[in-house]
């Protein structure tokens, strides 16, 4: 199969010499990266995956069994009518850019490379998880997320190849050379260098960290650089699934925890091989506080520049706002002033990171309310809570002090005294890890997680979402039984 046939696309790849030349070199490197750094142990198995084969509603969610290395990673831009206008910032109302404006090269490159680097990073972080999947359903979802992160890398690489010349090609190569957690070639953002070695963390990651990605993509989908806007618009359709894996995954762990808590005479969920709600709360505290860092500084020159240049807007910039210049407006935020919090008025453009973070926090709180409903349904008196965005920060202006879960200033000593009740301890992590044994039988679920309400795309919960492709497969023995 030729390169153009194997890559589903709507960017007229077959007649684009520039893109073909770039991909001829990059695509084999991507495949070898996937084999080296993608999921360990399941590469020859048949996974029931969704593939985007076109941007039409009938084409972007095509389901079938596929071996992951044969997955057809494609390049798609949401179609437009060619009349897009810049929607915000200083250039608002002018025609969108179809090429990279020279004066914005450095900023756009930085935005795209930073976003792109997170995509392969998360695949690398999650590569060992298949060995301890709590069910075939979850295993399949993990791989769906992985291959789509791979496609998102393709989407970003397409922008680098198409619009940034030699420099873009070199950056695309570097995306395959950096490695999550590698001491010598780490991924750019520190969160993406931490390992995700058990499934509770995977669900937390897709719930909280990927959700940052959603808001970043959403802000970029408003971009005046038209290819970036259209590329991220299409990525968002796939990202929604990742977020639901996280939100529902955490929800299922919560349901099992509540069920077992209610069942046990001492309210001890751990006695039944489930994860207790207190530990889940600590994981929420940890992952939320790590994910809010990804939005960047509370008062940011870059954020102001990106908005002014028309490169990065607000979430739902067009739908939600009437005014799109963002000048002569203020945003009031609490700042640390002599060890206390006081209100400060900041020019709106400089507070754009915080505006985006507000949307994110509200979204997380909405998900948390759903989990609390689940707990109530099981008859347990316990409420999970999203901590304050100031809690446990290592970057930004709130990193200068310690804060409690409500966001009130406390001393470092007070924080340390409470650390073990607020954040997962080594013992908590060891316990969660001890639960991680695979459940590979169709319809089987590990002790610590409730089954989902329904299967994927009309399939039953006990559908065989992953099938062994060879005797070497971890799935093989289960299949033989």
């Amino acid at each position: 199969m030729s390169l153009t046939d194997s890559i589903p696309n709507n960017v007229d790849l077959s007649s684009d010499r520039k893109l073909l030349r770039a991909l001829e070199k990059w695509q084999p490197n991507f495949i070898s990266w996937w084999r080296d750094m993608g999921p360990v142990g399941f590469q020859e198995d048949q996974i029931w995956l969704r593939t985007a084969v076109s941007v039409e509603s009938s084409g972007w969610a095509h389901y079938d069994y596929v071996k992951m290395p044969d997955y057809r990673w494609g390049i798609f831009l949401t179609p437009n009518d060619g009349n897009a206008k810049i929607g915000f910032g200083d250039e608002k109302g002018r025609d969108s850019w179809d090429e990279v404006p020279g004066e914005m090269r450095a900023s756009l490159r930085r935005i795209i490379v930073t976003q792109a680097d997170t995509e392969p990073a998360s695949v690398e972080q999650q590569r060992l998880l298949g060995r301890t999947a709590p069910s075939l359903y979850d295993l399949r979802n993990l791989f769906q997320v992985n291959v789509e992160e791979g496609r998102h890398l393709w989407a970003m690489v397409h922008l680098l190849h198409q619009y940034f010349g030699r420099d873009g090609r070199e950056e695309a190569e570097s995306l395959l050379e950096r490695r999550s957690g590698d001491v010598d070639k780490p991924r750019i953002l520190s969160t993406f260098n931490e390992t995700t070695d058990e499934w509770l963390s995977f669900f937390m990651f897709t719930m909280f960290t990927d959700r940052d990605g959603k808001y970043q993509l959403s802000a970029l989908s408003e971009s005046g650089f038209d290819p970036l806007a259209r590329c991220t618009q299409f990525m968002l359709t796939e990202e929604a699934f990742h977020l639901s894996v996280g939100e529902q995954g955490v929800g299922r762990v919560v349901r099992q925890a509540a069920k077992r808590t209610a069942q046990d005479s001492n309210g001890d969920a751990r006695a039944h091989g489930a994860i207790d709600l207190q530990t889940i709360q600590k994981y929420i505290n940890f992952w939320f506080s790590s994910a809010v860092e990804l939005f960047g500084g509370e008062i940011s020159t870059n954020a102001a520049d990106y908005f002014a240049m028309g490169l990065k807007g607000r979430h739902h910039e067009q739908k939600k706002y009437d005014e799109h210049r963002g000048l002569n407006q203020i945003y009031t935020m609490p700042i640390l002033d002599g060890g206390r919090l006081s209100s400060k008025e900041v020019p709106l453009r400089n507070a754009m990171n915080e505006v985006l973070r507000d949307e994110y926090v509200a979204d997380c709180e909405r998900a948390c309310r759903r989990w609390n409903k689940v707990i109530a349904e099981e008859g347990v008196d316990f409420e999970l809570k999203i901590p304050s965005r100031r809690f446990n920060r290592s970057m930004g202006m709130y990193a200068e002090s310690a804060f409690d879960l409500n966001g009130d200033v406390i001393t470092r000593e007070e924080f340390e005294a409470k650390r073990d009740s607020w954040l997962p301890t080594a013992e908590d992590r060891a316990y969660v890890r001890s639960l991680m044994t695979p459940s590979y039988g169709p319809g089987e679920f590990a002790s610590w997680i409730a089954p989902p309400r329904k299967g994927i795309k009309g399939k039953a919960i006990d559908f065989e979402y992953c099938k062994a492709g060879s005797p070497e497969s971890p799935l093989w023995s289960e299949a033989a039984e």
């Binding site: 200083d90 001491v183 010598d184 780490p186 453009r349 400089n350």
Partner: protein
Amino acid sequence: MQVSFDTHPDRYQHWRLSFDGEVATLSMDVQLRGGLRDDYELKLNSYDLGVDIELADAIQRIRFEHPEVKCVVVNSAVDRVFCAGANIPMLGSSTHAFKVNFCKFTNETRLYIEDASRQSGIKFLAALNGTCAGGGYELAMACDDIVLIDDGSSAVSLPEVPLLAVLPGTGGLTRLVDKRGVRRDRADVFCTVSEGIRGKRAVKWKLVDAIAPRSRFDDVVAERAKTLASQGRDKGAGVTLPSVAPTVDGDTLKYKYVEVKIDSAARSATLTLSAPDDAPPADAAALHAQGAESWVLRCFRELDDAILQLRVNHLEVGLWIVETRGDRDRLRAHDDALRALAGDWFADEVIALQARVLRRLDVTSRSIFAIIDEGSCFVGSFFEIALAADRSFMLEDDDDNVAVALSSANRGTAPMGNGLTRLATRFFGDEASLKKVLAESGPIGTTDADDLGLITLAADDIDWEDDVRIAIEERASMSPDALTGMEASLRFPGPETLESKIFARLSAWQNWIFQRPNAVGPKGALTKYGEPDRAEFDFTRC
């Protein structure tokens, strides 16, 4: 705001200085809220004048107090950030005069690093553990060896032009092409890509000397530091440098050998320098025993502090009048005794320090007049100050009580930034006159000094007061900008060196750009940095 240049490692806020045998480590750890003013935060190891004052102090102390050090590793205590350069909000909110003073001082500090390498054999290694931008990379370029971490993202960069519409103002442009030999078209690319250059290309383009992966970084730095240290020589026990801070009495700064009287109304200051009271140390042991209290060292450290205080804290005092007092023969004996000890590491350091202080005077943007009158002592070391001055006035007296004289201090140990002695600069292109002056060994009276071309104006006691007064008042009335430009243009005839180029380009280009609307106008890039709206340029080329 009064800036003090007096500091000590015990009081450093922003640097950690540690010693391990022949290798010292100078670790940058800039405190966010430790700036000289509180209207900016020193993020990402960015620096202000206060940070650089500590750096300059550290370099000086390593030279005098730790002669065992043969290599200094300059690194960062902040993870993944070496140094983001000069703090931009600080520059944006500073007056033009402050910016100019800041740049001048930081340039002198970078040159002192190179001076320590050349004169003291202390090699500097910049260990770039992460982001190294702007002034951070200029600091690295002042070092002998640059090692950059190779982690796929850390780069060296000079983003001033594309991001801030100003220049790398700490010798960055000159050092790229003159010192490191970066090809000029590559330098052009490098200085306009804000993201900088990393990894193998940084080595290929000669922007750094080596790259090392994170896991090998510390080892590579340690190995290279060891190699650099092996080039140094063994010296002896160090000499502690106590504070020379003056006592302040109204408008007077009083040091032991220097006194500064400020006349704000006249916009002038009178610096009076005193010759030694005692005979010179008989030998190296005696000099070492005197240590920091030896006359030349103490006197020129005091002069250094006085120059800096006047520069930064007394901006409108545009004319410095230099007077000297003391015994001419004793001063000459000190000069000659010190130079007779050349080869002794401490004597060499003292001589090098004197040369640095004199060079600081050369690049000071103040008019300098030397007053050679009754009781004055413009001999040798002090005569260099008269030669550094823009003009010198000498009183004619019948008894030849007023005289100047050369010593070994005028014969090559204190070159100017252009690489020449002050006498060679004064007589540039006139070898015969220079030769004649160098043949002089005794006191030179006013008439002879005038004939030899060593002074600007000779006046008898009847004319003296009026001539001097009018010259001073006239000078103080002229435009300070025009005077600064004129003086800087006239003080350095002859060849260019890295040092003279750096200061020339700083004063001519950077200080011009710092005044232009595209940088500092209401819509200029420095003004708009961090603001919600963006810079707008006037695209007229001039």
